[in-house]
């Protein structure tokens, strides 16, 4: 019964989405306020219906309702409750449902928090949102319905892929989708602006918080995925340039460019058509990513379903959504007039450079991801495009980005003083030199590129701090005055500083991963494995019974000299249902370095393969990502985004004052 309610809610949501797509748009064209307002109520209704559908499927999973095909294929009664819930989006149908649920969440958020928007713009934004919802609801109902029944029900389900039964991975898709789908709001704003033919600073001010919020979620989502890969794969890799990873990285890169170019539109009223294009491309890349993952044109650990009908349907959606918006762009964008002029060396100039490099970087990743598929489709040879390619093409593009991150914010708008900015960065330069020399000394000439990467991270970190202290006039005026300046500084400035610091921290972690020390050997219980000044003592290996797996659980005492640092338990888990073995690594971190220990196979003599790594600075990769996302959140709390609300609150007050 509940399943049918969910199914019905899904169909109703489609009907509501069609209304949401049509009426407000017509209303905006005719100036009919009542029709325009339908956008808000339908957006809220759609959210409610999608929430019901989502809850219904969750209920089916939690109660292990094996009359539902989707539950049979992806769940099992023995599965822990957490994974029964997260298993909802651990498969194609459920993940598409989550996709549309989040889309409706975004639509509802726009409906609720858009009181300061002109009604026509709001109506158009919500209508475009309704169109996207219509397309994807049709997709779910026609090709990927999670509510289909099968009678008679089997005794039990097939279970969830064991590698997906992990807390990190359980919450990776919702964040990722929040990012992906959140960009749809920027997209809708761009399309609405093109329909209206107007892009101005106010538009940029509305778009930026939505973009920023999605960007934060996407940052966290990507970081979670890579962290999962890190601790689960048993050797500490965290990024493979896998096509599906790239599919999430592409919108991130272009979204990052969008956040920055929208600043120029807001502050200087120029770069408009470019910013609109970026907003379209960011969401388009999210859609293309969905296509690549869902259509089966690529095969990947992430690809759930290989069904040509689904692929064709999504391709059709792409054609309508991306092709339509870009065609609209071709017609309307030429009329968007550029505003303020600026010299090449200026804040705008630095932001343009950022956009140029990030977009080229995105193009590079795009090419690397799709080129093998392209060659294959035209009958060429099979190729692999792996990390060495990206190291030679993408990474060099990011070096000037990092250099500019420190210098850009020190440049004035319109016309900047590069020499002056560089002079103020002496401390950053000194820090980079010290770090490079220090790292060369410590690693005795270690991998030169990694050492230079560390130097670059130091340059960026200190450069960003230098800009911040400059703004606060720290150390130059009394501390109390600096504090006052810090409080008066817009939150978005603090947010930028935090996000840029996060970038530097991540880069340091990435660069330092080249310095890892590894020791792999067979150790008998009672034996030792030395690693980077530590001694790993294998006490014992025991069999443990888990909820739906059997584990070999090793007890390893980590010692430094005679002092016991920690006792860790790496495991090998065997899932009998799927006949699959996964590795639960033990990671001991002090935030400067990770001790990474994985348990391998036993040998005939009773020894166990232990794979142990010492990974300096590697946790910084994710700490940096958290900083970036936190910077975004701080920036979001800036009161300027709510300036519309503030002015409305002020208006009655002013009237009251006038009345006195």
């Amino acid at each position: 019964m509940i399943v049918e309610i969910g199914h019905f809610a899904l169909i109703l949501a489609l009907v509501v989405a069609i209304v949401q797509a049509a009426l407000p748009l017509a209303g905006a064209a005719r100036g009919n306020v009542a029709w325009m307002e339908v956008g808000r109520s339908t957006a809220l209704a759609q959210f409610l219906l999608m929430a019901i559908a989502m809850a219904a499927l969750m209920h089916a999973y939690v109660t292990s309702d094996f009359t539902v095909v989707n539950v049979i294929e992806n769940s099992h009664t023995d599965k822990p409750l957490l994974y029964k819930i997260t298993g909802v989006w651990g498969n194609h149908e459920g993940s598409m449902l989550l996709w549309v649920f989040i889309l409706s969440l975004c639509g509802a958020a726009v409906a609720l928090f858009s009181n300061n928007l002109p009604p026509a713009l709001r109506a158009r934004v919500l209508a475009v949102q309704g169109m996207i919802g219509t397309g994807f609801l049709l997709f779910i109902l026609l090709t990927s319905n999670p509510f289909l029944r099968e009678l008679p029900p089997p005794l039990n389900g097939r279970g969830l892929n064991p590698v997906l039964q992990d807390p990190g991975l359980a919450f990776h898709p919702p964040f990722l989708y929040l990012g992906y789908v959140g960009f749809s709001v920027s997209f809708c704003f761009a399309v609405a602006a093109l329909i209206e033919g107007r892009v101005d600073s106010a538009w940029a001010r509305w778009v930026r918080p939505w973009t920023l919020a999605s960007w934060c979620a996407l940052t966290i989502g990507i970081a979670m995925g890579s962290w999962w890969a890190y601790y689960t794969l048993g050797w500490g890799g965290w990024w493979f340039w896998d096509p599906v990873e790239n599919a999430s990285f592409l919108p991130w890169l272009v979204g990052t460019a969008l956040i920055h170019s929208a600043i120029v539109v807001e502050k200087r009223d120029t770069l408009k058509s470019w910013t609109v294009l970026l907003a379209i491309i960011t969401f388009s890349l999210s859609l293309v990513g969905t296509f690549l993952v869902r259509s089966g044109v690529l095969t990947s650990v992430h690809a759930f379903a290989v069904d040509p009908a689904r692929g064709s349907f999504i391709l059709l959606l792409l054609l309508v959504a991306i092709g339509g918006s870009l065609a609209l762009y071709a017609v309307r964008a030429p009329a968007l007039k550029g505003g303020g002029l600026f010299a090449p060396v200026s804040r705008e100039g630095a932001l343009v450079l950022n956009n140029l490099l990030l977009s080229t970087g995105a193009a590079t990743v795009f090419l690397g991801t799709l080129y093998p598929l392209f060659l294959d489709a035209v009958g060429g040879p099979k190729l692999s495009v792996g990390p060495p390619f990206y190291n030679k093409t993408f990474v060099p593009l990011m070096v000037p980005v990092l250099v500019a991150v420190a210098a850009g914010p020190l440049l004035a708008w319109k016309r900047g003083d590069l020499l002056g900015a560089l002079q103020r960065l002496w401390a950053a330069f000194a820090a980079a030199v010290v770090v490079v020399l220090g790292a060369l000394y410590v690693t005795s000439g270690g991998p030169v590129l990694a050492v230079l990467g560390l130097g670059l991270a130091a340059w960026t970190f200190v450069g960003v701090l230098a800009e911040w202290t400059e703004r606060l006039k720290l150390f130059r005026i009394p501390a109390r005055d600096s504090w006052r300046r810090a409080r008066n500084l817009p939150r978005s400035a603090h947010g930028m500083t935090l996000a840029h610091l996060g970038l530097a921290i991540s880069v340091a972690g990435i660069a330092a991963s080249a310095f890892e020390v590894e020791h792999i050997d067979i150790v008998a219980p009672g034996g030792d494995l030395p690693l980077a000044g530590y001694t790993l003592h294998l006490d014992k290996v025991e069999k443990l019974q888990g909820a739906n797996y059997v584990a070999d659980d090793a007890t390893i005492t980590v010692k430094r000299g005679d002092a016991v640092i920690a006792v860790v338990h790496p495991q090998r888990r065997f899932f009998p249902l799927q006949q699959q073995t996964t590795s639960e690594t033990a990671i001991r971190t002090n935030f400067l370095a990770d001790l990474y220990i994985a348990l391998g196979e036993p040998d005939q003599a009773g020894g166990w393969t232990i794979r142990a790594y010492w990974k300096p600075l590697v946790p910084w990769i994710w700490i940096g990502a958290v900083f970036m996302a936190f910077g975004g959140v701080v920036s979001l709390s800036d009161r300027r985004w709510r300036v519309g609300v503030a002015s409305r609150l002020r208006a009655p007050a002013a009237q009251a004052a006038a009345g006195d």
Binding site: L277, I281, S284, V297, L318, A330, P334
Partner: protein, 179 residues
């Protein structure tokens, strides 16, 4: 005019991309197909002990006829899927099929062939998978078509299906036998 054209560029690029996505979605395209690096090249030389104990199976011994070489193993589940097809090919179509037991204990290979029937005219034992490696085998089952001069003409990764046999394997064999 130039400016207009510039604004048309994104949509033009996207349409090109969509066209190529459509190409990639063709139903006859298998994203996992892995063409052999050895197509139209001489098959790697090998001399393997025969499974039945007498003599051996060698690349030279196969020359002069169009043959099908099938890598299999007793531990390989998908091999059982294609096994009836191989039997049919061997008995009804009289296709000369030679087997190579890949990374398998000879007694296990013998037992499975005794159990399911033996479609092979001769079977070589590739205990350490060295010959499979020379052929560029990804995993079992894999099936190769070798012409009279000893050149590899086609490779099928994974279990053969009735459709593949009818539409690809048999026509190819017919054509090679004619020429």
């Amino acid at each position: 005019m130039m400016r207009r054209a510039l604004f048309l560029l994104p949509v033009a690029l996207f349409l090109a991309l969509a066209g190529y996505f459509a190409l990639a979605l063709r139903p006859d395209r298998d994203p996992q197909a892995l063409p052999s690096a050895l197509i139209d090249k001489p098959a790697p030389a090998f001399t393997l002990a025969s499974l039945d104990g007498g003599g051996n199976l060698s690349s030279d011994g196969l020359k002069g006829q169009v043959v099908v070489v099938n890598f299999f193993a007793s531990w390989c589940v998908p091999c059982r899927i294609e096994h009836p097809l191989l039997m049919r090919l061997a008995t009804q179509e009289r296709v000369p099929i030679y087997g190579i037991a890949y990374k398998d204990k000879p007694e296990d290979s013998r037992r499975i062939l005794a159990q399911l029937g033996d479609p092979y005219r001769g079977t070589g034992v590739d205990r350490d998978g060295g010959t499979g490696f020379d052929f560029g085998v990804y995993g079992v089952p894999e099936t190769y078509v070798i012409d009279r001069s000893g050149h590899i003409r086609q490779r099928f990764v994974g279990p053969l299906t009735a459709e593949v046999v009818e539409k690809e394997l048999l026509p190819l064999l017919k054509q090679l036998n004619r020429s």
